[in-house]
Every structure is written in C-alpha cells, then in structure tokens.
Amino acid sequence: MEYFLQQLINGVTLGAIFGLIAIGYTMVYGILGMVNFAHGDVFMIGGFVAVITFLILGVLGLTWVPFALLCMLLIAMVFTGVHGWAVERIGYRALRNSNRLAPLISAIGMSIFLQNYVQLLQGARNKAIPPMISGGVELMTSPTGFTVKFGYMQMVIIAVTTVLMVGFSLLIARTSMGRQQRACEQDMRMARLLGVDVDRTISLTFIMGAALAAVAGMIWLLYYGIIDFYVGFLAGIKAFTAAVLGGIGSLPGAMLGGLLIGLIEVFWSAYFSVEYKDVAAFAILVLVLIFRPTGLLGQPDIEKV
C-alpha cells in the first residue's frame, strides 16, 4: 500500500510533465492537422534556456531560490516561445497548402536541426544543476520500514502544472483569442471570413505550445538535475503518445493522456521492469489505436456536414 502510494505520487509528477508537452502537440494538430515532430526538441530547448539562465543568475549572484526559479521560468517561456514561433514560420508556413506529407517531413527536419543546433552551441555533454528544491514531507511509514515521501519538488511541479493547465483551459474556453483558435480549428476558411487573422492565430498557437513545453523542460531539468540535447526525442514521442491516448485535438485529452502515460510508466517500472518501461507506454498506444482510434476524449467529426 505504501509502495503503491509512493508510485502514485511519482507517476502524477511525471504525468504532469508529459501533459504539458502533450498540449502543444494536440493544439497544433487541432489547427493544422499535422504532427509537429520538432515539439519534443522545443521542450528540450526550454530545459537548456533554464540551465543557461540559472548559470547567468549564478554569475550575477542572484541566487535566492524563488526569484531564480521565477526568472528561469519566465525567460525559458519567452525564449522557447520564440523558437516555437520560428519553427512554424520557417518550417511549416510555406508548406501549409501542400501535400500532407510535406510538413511532416519538414517537421522531422526541424527536429534534427534543433538537436544539432543545441549540440553545436552547447556541446554534446549533458548539463547538470544542483538540486534547487530539496526535502519533502514523510506521509507514512509501513511496518516493513518503507517511507512514503512527497517531495517539495513534486509538490511544486504538480501545483505549477495544475495552475497552468487550469489557466490555459480558461484562456481557450473564455477569451476572444481562445475562440479564434477554436474557430480556426473547426473551419479555418470561415474564421477568415469573420476577420480572424489566421496566420497570427497559428503563430500564437505555436508560441503558447512552446511556452508550456518550456515549463515542462525546466521542470524536467529541476526534477532530474540533468539535461542533454537528445532528451527531447523520447520525451517528445511519449508526450505525443499521451496526446493520441487522450484523443489528439482535445485539450483535456492531452492532460489526461499525459497523466496516464506518466502513471503507466512509473507503475510498470515499479512492479515489472524498468528496462521495458518505454515498451509499456507504446504498447498502450498500439492498443488505443486498435480499439479506440479517436482516443479517450477525442471526438469523431460527426457534427460536421
């Protein structure tokens, strides 16, 4: 029981990271119908911007932890947002009306480019930072001596993710910008006929997706203490799996899918085998695609005429 509870905490933490990345996949897919394979690398860039900010703050002597974290968060979101914008502007916009395969191939190219770009500028070695938030609360101890610990780091991750996801959902559901985004998703030509600047809306989608991925990248860095230029590949594919599991195109689906992939991976590692944890996540993807291709919360387009 105690062991189970501990895994649950760990799984939710990991799921929060995947969920944040998955939102970017699902929103871009919703509007453009393409999988942005460079999104995992945008997440990685978020982690790197956070490291660099951390080092600069250290040089400047600004080491008060809450201030440093806030700086890292904001700077990572802004810079990564710019990268997300540039990926769309350079890699996808010109291909928007072409064959469906063209932007997909371009996306793979952008992914390879971003990895090499970071490798060349930052070196191939991984970057590490010391733990910034340590300690935690011991929830309970089993008779066998196993202690369930809810780390402060984990609390911060879950709290930040929850706030961001709620805020972001409200942004999409309630604001004019969110409505314009949904309008583009449902009927881009009609949105244009109502005066929506579609190019701007698509750019904003990429910027917002990248900013959320940047938060995930920074969380990854703080949680594991280490990051390298290749980390976006597997994390990105898992977050994409999460988006498909939840129903690609659906915002709550991406969050739910992320949570589930995090839980599946952690529980599989805890009870079966750590070596095969990636197999577990992808096996679930295969099963979902066979038995429920629209994902858990996805909807087939039956309302459209």
């Binding site: 309008a183 449902q186 009609m190 006929l193 005066g195 579609v198």
Partner: protein, 240 residues
C-alpha cells in the same frame, strides 16, 4: 458601393469565372441567379479574397480590394453568410455570434446581440446550445445573425433558402427585406430560388457558365422569357 470588373477566378486549371462585371449600389438588394456550377458562390468568395481573382479588379467603396487578404477585407465592412452556412459546430450559438462580432465594436456587442435576438427569437432560446445540434433553418438564421453582428455595410448571402421548408424560406426572405429596409444594409444575394430572389431584389444578374448573361431590374428579369424558361418554370416554386 461594390464594383466587380472583368474578374476571372481559377480553381486549379478550371476557370470558374470568366470576366464577370457587376455593380451593387448603396442600399440595394441585388440578386445573382443561375444554375448549379454557374459560379455564383465563387463570385461571392472572390469578392472576399478566398480565392483571389486571377485577373480583373474588385472595388469596395472606391478602394481596390482585389489583392487584400481576406481577414482585412472582412474588417472593412463586408460580411458573408456563406454557402452551407458554415456554423462552428462545436461552439455554442452565443460563441458563434461572438465570432461574428470579432471585427465589430466591442462596446456595441450587447446592443447588437439584442438586435439579432429580436430578429431571430429562436436563437435566444438556443443560446447555449452547440451550433452542430441546430436544425437547418436555425443554422441558416444563425449564419445570417453572425454576419449581422459586425454591422456590415455590404452583406453577402449565399443561398439562404437552400434545403429549408417553404414556410421558413418565406420567413427568411421577409427578414432579408427587413434588414435592407430598416438598416439600409446593402445586400448581394445569391439564389437558386430565382422567383423569390427576383421579387425581393431591386436588380438582378443572371450568371451562366462563369459570365453574366443578363441583367435588369428584378421585375424585368421576372418577366424575361429566357429567365422564365430556364429558372422559373417547372420545378420553381410559384407560391405566393
């Protein structure tokens, strides 16, 4: 107010419009009639810049809008209720209307909302319902209401009667006339139901195979023998 001069539009390699000239004057209702595939909807879409004209010129209030991006054309005082209604299916009726008001004055939103609810009371009842769940007639009303939310000076209506019960058709045409008379909104109306459209319109154009074959006042076209033979006799509705 609107001048379309020798406009050609291509869909791939097919020339859908072959040198169309029309003019719409302020406060007029102008009907554009023609059979399926004549290019009526293409003309409305070309006016809105999606697709852009391959040749020719479109002037709105004296300004050349031929190469202006669609979203900017729609911000200059033109609104369209397009073919197939194109309601956002997973948005509520209210959200659809908010989308229509995007280019309008935010301070006038509630006033405009009251206005369209008074024209189409059924939409008020359906306010929180998703667009995709409305009936065809309700969707048509929503499409017109959405176009009205931006207070356009020129309203483009594409087949507002398509697929609707005769009673609702009469109601919609009545509403179109009211909009024109009460607010002075200029209307360019595309219709297959030539009889109703020409009775309502001040002037009309007949589009055949991508070019204008005939023009005249609504009354003249209704009396024209070729028009009667091609669009009015046989299947057309002559109910009064």
């Amino acid at each position: 107010m609107l001048r379309v001069e020798r406009v050609h539009t291509l869909y791939g390699h097919i020339e859908a419009l072959r040198g169309v000239d029309i003019e719409v004057k302020e406060r007029e209702i102008v009907a554009l009639i023609g059979s399926n595939g004549a290019g009526k909807s293409t003309l409305l879409m070309t006016i809105c810049g999606t697709p852009q004209a391959a040749a020719g010129r479109i002037l709105f209030e004296g300004r050349d809008i031929t190469r202006v991006p669609t979203h900017l054309i729609m911000r200059s005082g033109i609104a369209q209720a397009p073919e197939g209604r194109r309601i956002f299916p997973r948005m509520t009726v209210l959200e659809n209307l908010q989308m229509g008001a995007l280019v309008g004055d935010p301070a006038k939103f509630s006033e405009d909302l009251e206005n369209v609810f008074s024209i189409f009371p059924i939409l008020k009842q359906r306010e929180t319902q998703r667009g995709g769940t409305l009936s065809g007639g309700e969707q048509q009303m929503l499409a017109i209401a959405r176009a009205l939310m931006s207070r356009p000076r020129l309203l483009l209506l594409d087949e507002p009667s398509l697929g609707l019960a005769p009673m609702i058709v009469r109601q919609i045409f009545q509403i179109i006339q009211d909009i024109n008379q009460k607010t002075g909104t200029t209307i360019l109306l595309v219709e297959q139901d030539a009889f109703h459209a020409l009775r309502l319109a001040h002037r009309g154009y007949v589009l055949v195979n991508g070019s204008i074959a005939l023009t005249g006042t609504g009354r003249e076209l209704l009396a024209n023998r070729e028009v009667r033979a091609a669009y009015l006799e046989g299947g057309a509705t002559e109910d009064q």
